[in-house]
Each structure stands twice: as structure tokens, then as C-alpha cells.
Symmetry: C2
Subunit: 309 residues, 2 copies
């Protein structure tokens, strides 16, 4: 099986991308417990919260308290989503390792999700980056609807590559290619990843996919074969998108770790610990979650042979 | 994205591998309606039933009536599972296009599922093949637990290749590599498929995977990249394995067709018709089914942009 990188690095976005759309309020204490649990499993990063307006996302109104309350583990970067200059100021004051700026590659999703055009996003990013540069935090940008928009449809590779170029010119240090509503397919993922990894070989690109149409792991496989080593995923497969009903969540962290480890690709993650933590999610969020390995067990699981044979 | 074959051929095994483990009795009429529905969607084959003892699998006790009652569509092969010589006689009398013999690659699964050793299976196959040869039916053999056994664990590639060799020597014309309890991973699938396709380039090999640990589509992708063009799948993702509780079913036909069609790989299948048929399954079997595209819609689905923007 062709591939370039042996080691993969996983960013668990469940505390942010997962919890932001849950109906049930998750207490600050429980959020801290979840993040502290994730921090001990060997993940590379955790997207802990969003310094967004509490009016926009009430679920994450406790962002500062969460970041203040978590235990920091050496080697595990704490990432927060930063929607604007004010959010960036709060994030920098909180002492996080990485800020994640978000823009959409498509016009309608940009308007629906961010209430501005992609151009306006880029202008705002310039201000945020000026503020963050020199602070020591890593600056990542997530490009939503990279693989298609639920309103506008196809998003051309040229358009995506154009935005990546401008983000890097602005001083962004890493870019996440986001399949926001699970429209990507493996051939498309392979093409785009191959293209950006070849052109910007020193920039860490992250694949962020949702499992909406069951292709989450297949898309991660295709990206890995094309040289991508960084992945966003959510414990238990939490997450979703308010604009695409019926959609399941982000690709599931433990299912992704399980696939790579079974393939002999090092993730650095303690899978058993991750599965144990995932098993606590249904109580935390009040419903069943989509992850499959937590239900079926790993491929190494053995069953007793039926009696009498 | 590297691959060998542009066209893929799909065998829907829902009427057999799916319905055999359902708790709710599906009437002969409903089975016929399901198979007739599948026959109009452009699938290559349909595994319609099993000529097994009604005591062993009560759900498929109406095998002969089902085959007799379905509408035969030119170009769509009707396959039946044949567990023994008697089953083969009944299958040949019923006028099917293909018989599918089943053995296990691992000892414990062979005993648990078939109550015989793999050697005994091969001996029985010799008799069945003598009976079937010259009748015009295509003779396929399915090798269960090819990628691992839920009781014995790892099954070596050498062992699998050895069984494939013996099956072909006996006169089997096609071989299905079956991941019976969803233990396979894409690297393993790629290695084995590459190996058999290279060695027996004129034999049609079929990949049969379950989505137990979420890797169903990723495994199909890896097999296709390795030269496999034939796939088993079940409408709605029906199926499962009595020996691996918590397991979800076969890889879902419409999700598989959707992935390939989105990638630009021709399946010959009318996806909309398949999705419409899948939507009838929950009523037929009395519970929700795992397929995701039927819930989320295809990647081409567009949503109205939220009002007021």
C-alpha cells in the first residue's frame, strides 16, 4: 500500500466541534474531565473550545474557564477556535498552544456560518495574525467546505488552492482542509492532498472529515496515502453540522486510531484508554454516539468458541 | 489515485446474508419484492437465498419458492448459497445462474459455523463441483474468516492463498475473500488482494467485508486500488454475524455505490433507485438499518441557504 508518512498525528476536536452542537448542556467540570481524559491518551492536540461569543454558541460560553481548568500535559497542544480579534485576545490571554481560524471556501456557507464573505474572513485573519505573531502560539486556519458546499455545490480545486496560498502568505502556519458536511470522496481527497502536499511540503496540512456518508475512514486513508499525516477527529464520532440534517458527526477518533494501528501506522495513542473514555460519552451527552469500535471492540477481540463444538 | 480497474461489479447479498439473521420473519412475497427491486437497479448479481436446511436457517426455509417467484432480468445473475450436495441439487433444479460454496479459512469458525473442518469442506466441494460442472452454472466459493477469526485470531496470508489454490484446482471459477466479522484493515486487504490478483489474474476475486469497525468502505477502496473489481455488499448494510455480538452488518450497497460513483468509478447501478429501495427496509425488517446515504442523501444533495442571509 503506497503512502508517504509512517506516523500520524491526531487532533481530537470533540470538546469543540462535538460539544458545540449538543442539545444537552455539558458542565464546565465535565468538559474539563473530558479534555483531561483525552490529554492522557497520547493525542497530538485537543481542540478544547472556541473563544466565540456566548450568544453565538451558548454551549461553549465557558471557554476561558475550561482552558483555565484543564491539566496541561507536555506534548499535548491545546488548540482553541478563534472567530475574531476579540476571541484571539482572549485566547492569547488564556495561554493556549494553538489558535485555529475558520473561513469557508464557498460563499453561501461563509455567509450562513460566519456572516461574512471569504474576502472579509481573510481581512480579519490579517488582523488576528498581526496580534498573534510573536506570541509563540501556532496559527492554524481551517478551510470549511473545501470539498463541496451544501448550498453552492462543487468547490473547485483551484479555488481551494488559491485560498491556501493566501492563508500562507498572511502568515498562517498550518491549514486544515475541512469536509464540513461529509461531501468528499477518496479520489477527490487524494487529488487535493497530493496537490497541496507537493506544493507546500513543509506546511502541516490537516484533513478534517465528517462521516456523513460513511466515507470518513476511506477519506482519511486516501489522504494518508497522499502524504497527509495530520487528522482532525472527534471522540465517539461526536459532531455534525447544523446546515446538513441527517448528517452523522466527525470521523470517530478511536475508529481512526484503530484503523491506523491495525495497519501498522503509529498514532502514538493508547487506544484502550481512548475507548474507555469514549464509553463515557453517552452519559455525558445524553444519547448514543456513532463510534463503532467502542461497541464492537478492536479487531484483536476474541470470542469464546460456542459450547459443545 | 492508483488503481487498476475502472468498472466495479456489485453483488447484493442482503436477501441471503442480511435476512438470514433477522429476528422478524420476512414473507416470501416480501423477499421476492426485495429481490425484484434489486434486479432493476443495475446490480451485477443478487445472492437471493440459501439452499440450506430450514432447521439450520428458518428465515430462508422458502428458498425454492423465492427463486421460483422472482422476475429474472437479463444481465443480473441470481446467486444462491449452497452448503452441501443436496443444496446443490436443489439449486441446479431451481435454475439459478451461480452457486456459492462456503468454507472457513480458520478451524474454530469452520467448526462453529459449518460443523466440519476446512478439509471436510474441501472434500464436500469436490462432490458438489462434480455435480455442478457442465450444468452451466458459475461456481463461486466464499472463504470465510480470510482476514481473521473471532475465535482463533490471525489467519495467515499463506494459509488463505493455500486454500484459494486448492479451490481453483477443484474447479471453482471465482473466489470471495470474506471478512466475516469485520476484522480486516486496508493494509491487510491491499496485501492479500494484490497477491491473489497478481497470481491468478483471470480469476474473478470478490471482496466481502462487514462494516463492524467502520472500515468497510476503506477496505473496499484498498481492494479496488489493488485490482479487485467485484464486491459483495448488502442493501442498507443489513447482515451481521451471530458469533460477533455488537457487530454491524455487511458493507452497505448504496453507500459503496455512492462512494464509487462519486469517485468517477462506474458501478452500472442506478443509485437513486437503490436508495429508494433501501428506504423500504426498516419497515421490512422492523428496525433501523446502518446505511448512511439513505439518511444523509448523496453528496450532490443541496440545501436551501438559511433565510435572511
Amino acid at each position: 500500500m503506497s503512502h508517504r508518512g509512517e506516523r500520524v498525528y491526531i487532533n481530537d476536536v470533540a470538546p469543540r466541534d462535538g460539544l458545540q452542537i449538543e442539545k444537552q448542556w455539558v458542565t464546565t467540570e465535565d468538559k474539563i474531565r473530558l479534555i483531561d481524559g483525552l490529554s492522557t491518551t497520547g493525542l497530538d492536540k485537543i481542540e478544547a473550545t472556541s473563544f466565540v461569543s456566548p450568544k453565538a454558541i451558548p454551549n461553549l460560553a465557558d471557554a476561558a474557564k475550561v482552558v483555565e481548568g484543564i491539566r496541561r500535559v507536555p506534548g499535548v497542544d491545546i488548540v482553541v477556535l478563534v472567530p475574531n480579534v476579540k476571541g484571539c485576545e482572549r485566547a492569547l490571554a488564556s495561554g493556549v498552544d494553538e489558535i485555529n481560524l475558520v473561513m469557508s471556501a464557498s460563499d453561501s456557507h461563509s455567509r450562513a456560518n460566519l456572516r461574512m464573505t471569504p474576502e472579509q474572513s481573510l481581512q480579519q485573519f490579517a488582523e488576528i495574525i498581526r496580534l498573534a505573531q510573536g506570541s509563540g502560539v501556532f496559527i492554524n486556519a481551517s478551510l470549511s467546505t473545501t470539498f463541496g458546499c451544501p448550498f453552492d455545490g462543487d468547490v473547485s480545486e483551484a479555488r481551494v488552492v488559491g485560498f491556501v496560498e493566501r492563508l500562507l502568505e498572511l502568515g498562517v502556519q498550518g491549514v486544515s482542509l475541512c469536509d464540513t458536511t461529509g461531501m468528499a470522496n477518496p479520489a477527490q481527497v487524494a487529488r487535493l492532498c497530493e496537490s497541496v502536499v507537493t506544493r507546500w511540503s513543509r506546511t502541516p496540512f490537516t484533513l478534517h472529515v465528517h462521516n456523513t456518508r460513511g466515507m470518513g475512514l476511506a477519506n482519511c486513508l486516501a489522504a494518508w496515502q497522499s502524504g497527509i499525516q495530520h487528522f482532525d477527529a472527534a471522540l465517539g464520532g461526536l459532531g455534525g453540522c447544523p446546515f446538513a440534517p441527517g448528517a452523522t458527526g466527525n470521523v470517530c477518533t478511536e475508529d481512526l486510531v484503530h484503523m491506523f494501528e491495525q495497519m501498522g501506522v503509529d498514532t502514538g495513542v493508547d487506544l484502550e484508554a481512548l475507548i474507555a473514555l469514549s464509553a463515557t460519552l453517552p452519559e455525558l451527552v445524553g444519547h448514543d454516539v456513532p463510534g463503532q469500535v467502542v461497541k464492537a471492540g478492536t479487531s484483536d477481540r476474541r470470542y469464546p468458541c460456542p459450547a459443545g463444538l
